[in-house]
């Protein structure tokens, strides 16, 4: 395809008024003729004037304004979402992290070799509480209650001199019910508790009220 329908760069420069353009004589005649025709066509057109501006603005005002959908319509209407691609994996990672957040399930702890149970770090609204039970003949003792989903295996107690079994665990402030589990079978209430509550199964639960600066078993 020829560029500019046969106009070469020299003729284009000539039509643009470049006096230095070197154009053959016959081409110059043809270009002058075309330029004259273009001028005559331009003069034949009616003047645009201010009426065009008024007509355009009237047409614009007549158009119904596009109102952005709100509420539920925004969710169901097609939308263009502009997101930096680098943010997509970050958002996905954040969503997965939230999904897999710990939900307060107490993990099975290894047998306690020390008095502090192996648990997650205690938040500041917990108090470390020590449980003791004198059971010289027991082979193993654990504590189970509403604070560990009644899982004795998660809070094994350690034996010390004199047959006293102990464990120190972080408990959230508030009220908790519990019992000791001796040798994995025998559920016994805390003998130091002043009052016991019916557990609904024919047994008696001990109750501990944990305050920020002290605990009371009842």
């Amino acid at each position: 395809m020829k560029r500019n329908d046969g106009f070469g760069p020299e003729i284009q420069r000539y039509l643009d008024g470049d006096g230095a353009a070197e154009v053959p004589a016959d081409a110059r005649v043809r270009a002058d003729r075309l330029a004259e025709a273009a001028r005559a066509y331009g003069e034949s057109l009616p003047p645009l004037g201010a009426r065009l501006d008024d007509a355009v603005m009237a047409a614009v005002r007549a158009r119904t304004p596009v109102v952005a959908p709100t509420g539920w319509r925004w969710f169901v209407a097609p939308q263009s979402v502009r997101v930096r691609p680098v943010l997509v994996p970050l958002m996905a990672a954040a969503a997965l992290a939230l999904w897999f957040l710990p939900r307060g399930v107490v993990q099975d702890a290894a047998p306690a070799s020390e008095v502090v149970a192996a648990m997650a770090p205690a938040p500041h609204d917990t108090v470390f509480v020590r449980f003791d039970l004198s059971a010289p003949d027991a082979r193993e003792v654990a504590v189970a209650g509403s604070f560990n989903g009644w899982r004795p295996e998660s809070m094994q107690m350690a034996r010390s001199a004199g047959g006293v079994w102990s464990v120190t665990v972080p408990l959230a402030i508030g009220e908790h019910r519990y019992q000791f589990v001796v040798d994995g079978q025998r559920w016994v209430p805390d003998p130091t508790a002043r009052a016991l509550v019916d557990d609904g199964f024919g047994g008696r639960n001990s109750v501990i009220v944990v305050g920020p600066k002290g605990v009371v078993r009842s």
Binding site: V127, R130, S146, G162, G211
Partner: protein, 246 residues
């Protein structure tokens, strides 16, 4: 799309998984995870669903079944206890409702049920609910009432102490320190009636007011009685066996 809408969309994407996670596993999954037999799971689930349909906390029902199964209670007794507990939850919801809480949160219903199970009457539960300045204070308040009764205070006196503390603007933490204050006073030889009167007047175990219901002395954190273990030290419940003493 405007920047605010993008932020809203991102927040929605982030909040949805969190909200789903906060719901936790359903009752059936929890029971199965703890090893309850399928038939028992089905029966407990039915009780829990019936409770939920009445606006009662179904997970509290499941908790009671899990407790029974952990204690190796026969399934028939577990079901009987769970059904009885669901009835008590309904009574608790009614007691709370009569105190002006039309739709009580689950923890409030559970706390009220525990209080009813420990001998408090609906009117006494309602008095604590009515005095609480925030829903989150009801459960600790009821716990403190029952703990004070275990220290020998009459139920009405214990309710009066807690209600007065709530109206005095005491925080939940301060409420929860009241039983240990009462125990310290009892350990000092004070009679339960005097403990109640002193706590109502604002007196503490050392003659001061911590844990009580009056003006707070200078230089002492609220709820800190003399001679009680401070934070960082594992408290020894009952005071008869000091930490590390074995």
């Amino acid at each position: 799309m405007s920047g605010s809408r993008i932020r809203r969309l991102v927040a929605l994407l982030l909040v949805c998984p969190a909200a789903l996670a906060a719901q936790g596993p359903d009752v059936q999954a929890r029971l199965a995870e703890r090893g309850l037999p399928p038939e028992l799971v089905r029966q407990v689930r039915d009780v829990a669903q019936s409770a939920a349909a009445r606006g009662l906390p179904e997970n509290a029902v499941a908790d009671r079944a899990i407790e029974g199964w952990a204690k190796r209670i026969p399934p028939a007794r577990i079901i009987a206890a769970v059904e009885q507990y669901a009835v008590r939850l309904g009574d608790a919801r009614d007691a709370v409702g009569q105190a002006g809480i039309a739709v009580p949160p689950p923890e409030m219903i559970v706390a009220a049920a525990e209080a009813l199970g420990r001998g408090l009457g609906p009117a006494q539960v309602g008095a604590v609910v009515h005095a609480a300045r925030a829903p989150g204070a009801v459960a600790p308040g009821l716990s403190v009432v029952t703990a004070l009764t275990a220290e020998g205070l009459a139920p009405d006196a214990a309710v009066g102490v807690v209600v007065a503390a709530m109206r005095d603007g005491r925080s939940v933490e301060q409420l929860l320190d009241m039983p240990s204050n009462a125990r310290a006073m009892r350990a000092g030889g004070m009679e339960p009636g005097e403990v109640g009167r002193r706590m109502m007047r604002g007196g503490g175990p050392g003659g001061e007011r911590p844990g009580g219901v009056g003006p707070r002395p200078q230089g002492m954190p609220p709820g800190m009685p003399r001679g009680m273990p401070r934070q960082g030290q594992p408290p020894s419940p009952g005071g008869h066996r000091p930490p590390g003493g074995g």
